[in-house]
């Protein structure tokens, strides 16, 4: 699949935004590390909402006809893309009420109720984003429960890294935040490692033989029938070289997990702002590489008709 930058940017940013909000609410609910000051909670919540909003806006950049984007809220009963749109908009009123009541220091029951609902919707939205990809039978590298698992764990891991930096700024006891980030790092790293292992051996699936129906002979493309590429070759024809994919896999694991593990390990002994910020940057750089690979390594079955022997 062609790795479109707007979608990479959107999935990374909105995933981290939703993860950040969910963790922020839970950290505040359980007063993690003695509880952060109100102003920090408020502005971190605003940051989460802005990240989600910027992500959503950037996702409309890949639409060819954005005038009709509002119609995307109509088919939530069947389409995961529509569900994602509905849920991400439904997130806003609850998140805003939560933050407004935080600012005003009013009605703790209503505040917690709306915070809990916003958190629930945040989880459902990340899940819907992942299901947009995981529900496609045409792309075996995506059609797996590992995809929502990876989106949820990576969204929380990257959002949690922001929360850790905020906790360092707020001068609360950062140890629980570091431990939480370490825990999420291991979960996300394991899910991603399993995914990287699994997509190299997805097993028997569609081949050029099942695509053409000639299942008892070798089938070879003689002519694709077009002179200079089509929508199909532009959208689905992208193929990442094996060596580059391997290098990028190693790079994403290194940036998203190995380096942050080292930095968080150091932060366990001597928590410092520099360590947190370095780990945060490293995680996001690794996430961009990871998301680029997620798209670049996906092989759509239409490539079978263009001569690929298997997908």
């Amino acid at each position: 699949m062609h790795p479109a930058f707007s979608v990479i940017f959107f999935t990374v940013l909105s995933g981290a935004g939703f993860g950040l909000f969910a963790l922020l609410y839970l950290a505040d609910l359980f007063k993690l590390g003695g509880g952060m000051p109100g102003a920090h909670v408020f502005w971190t919540g605003v940051l989460a909402i802005v990240m989600v909003g910027v992500g959503l806006l950037s996702s409309t950049f890949h639409l060819a006809n954005p005038r009709n984007a509002w119609r995307a809220f109509s088919r939530w009963r069947t389409s995961w893309l529509s569900r994602e749109g509905v849920l991400s908009v439904a997130f806003y009123p609850f998140a805003l009420v939560y933050l407004a009541l935080y600012w005003l220091d009013l009605w703790p029951v209503v505040r917690h109720l709306s915070g809990a609902l916003a958190t629930l919707i945040a989880w459902m939205t990340i899940f819907s984003t992942a299901m947009i990809y995981a529900s496609l039978k045409t792309i075996r590298q995506w059609n797996t429960p590992l995809v929502p698992a990876a989106y949820l764990s990576l969204g929380h891991f990257s959002g949690g890294m922001i929360l850790l930096v905020v906790a360092m700024m707020a001068r609360v006891d950062v140890m629980p935040y570091v431990l939480m980030s370490l825990f999420q790092l291991f979960v996300a790293a394991f899910v991603k490692a399993i995914y990287f292992y699994w997509i190299t051996r997805v097993g028997a699936g569609s081949t050029i033989n099942t695509a053409t129906g000639f299942t008892r002979a070798r089938v070879r493309l003689l002519d694709a029938g077009h002179t200079h590429g089509t929508f199909l070759t532009q959208e689905f024809g992208y193929r990442v070289q094996n060596r580059l994919a391997l290098t990028l896999k190693a790079l994403s694991m290194l940036l998203a997990f190995c380096l942050p593990l080292l930095l968080l390990g150091l932060a366990l002994k001597q928590p410092s702002m520099a360590l947190g910020l370095a780990a945060l940057l490293s995680v996001f750089a690794g996430m961009i590489v990871e998301r680029w690979l997620f798209f670049a390594e996906a092989r759509h079955v239409v490539n079978l008709f263009h001569g690929a022997q298997r997908c």
Binding site: A64, N65, T138, G213, R218, L221, E235, F236, H300, F305
Partner: protein, 232 residues
């Protein structure tokens, strides 16, 4: 009704006339112009509802060239419709034709991701997805003769490799020919249950081929020697 096409791979000669005729009809059809990008330029490309690929099946000398026209399969379980967030893609209950409402499409490409047959192509000039309409603006037209109420690709095919009809009717031409000639669906394992069927090439005895490589006998060597000596 369940309208669709049968494509006879035994007789398709790969002339691309179906694609050209499709483009000609649909360029002014319900889904509007089918844009061409650089039609006379260095990199000609554009929107087509029908594309023909060519494959070699088997290995030489027991091989065959198969010309393979593909358009929308008008699937029974059309995921392109399920995934559409705007409701622009729909499948008609009365005849099973899958269509796109050009006024509702937002051009997100998601339906084209869900389609395993590459039937959907984005038109960059309108920003909307376009696809085969099974000539819905022709097959019901009361103002043209009955025999002309068929998709443009079917009417134009010089080899009669394409048939159009109702798959729900067991006695229709398409149902009968699929039964008799073991017509099959593409990518059945994905479970889209496509309406369009393909008829496999008829089985022929392999034609014996001189493979070469055998050593010539005494007369053969003599003939070669004479040929070398005598100037023509």
């Amino acid at each position: 009704m369940r309208l669709g096409l049968v494509i006879d791979l035994d007789v398709c000669v790969g002339c691309h006339a179906c694609a050209v005729s499709c483009k000609q009809w649909n360029a002014s059809g319900t889904t509007g112009a089918l844009s061409d990008y650089q039609p006379y330029g260095a990199e000609p490309s554009g929107v087509w509802f029908n594309r023909i690929r060519h494959y070699e099946v088997g290995s030489y000398p027991n091989s065959k060239t198969v010309n393979f026209p593909m358009s929308c399969m008008h699937c029974e379980d059309a995921d392109c419709v399920t995934v559409c967030p705007t409701g622009a893609s729909y499948k008609r209950a009365e005849d099973g034709i899958v269509l796109i409402d050009q006024d509702k499409c937002m051009g997100c490409n998601y339906c084209s991701w869900a389609c395993p047959y590459g039937a959907r192509e984005l038109d960059r000039s309108t920003g909307t997805m376009k696809k085969c309409t099974l000539c819905v603006d022709r097959i019901y037209d009361q103002n043209i003769p009955v025999e002309d109420r068929q998709p443009a690709c079917v009417l134009t095919c010089p080899a009669h490799a394409r048939m159009f009809g109702d798959f729900d009717d067991p006695n229709s031409e398409v149902s009968k020919v699929v039964r008799e000639r073991e017509g099959y669906m593409l990518l059945p394992e994905l479970g889209y249950n496509p309406t369009n069927h393909y008829l496999p090439p008829r089985k022929h005895k392999p034609i014996p081929v001189e493979m070469g490589g055998e050593k010539p006998g005494l007369t053969g060597r003599l003939r070669q020697f004479v040929n070398r000596m005598v100037k023509r």
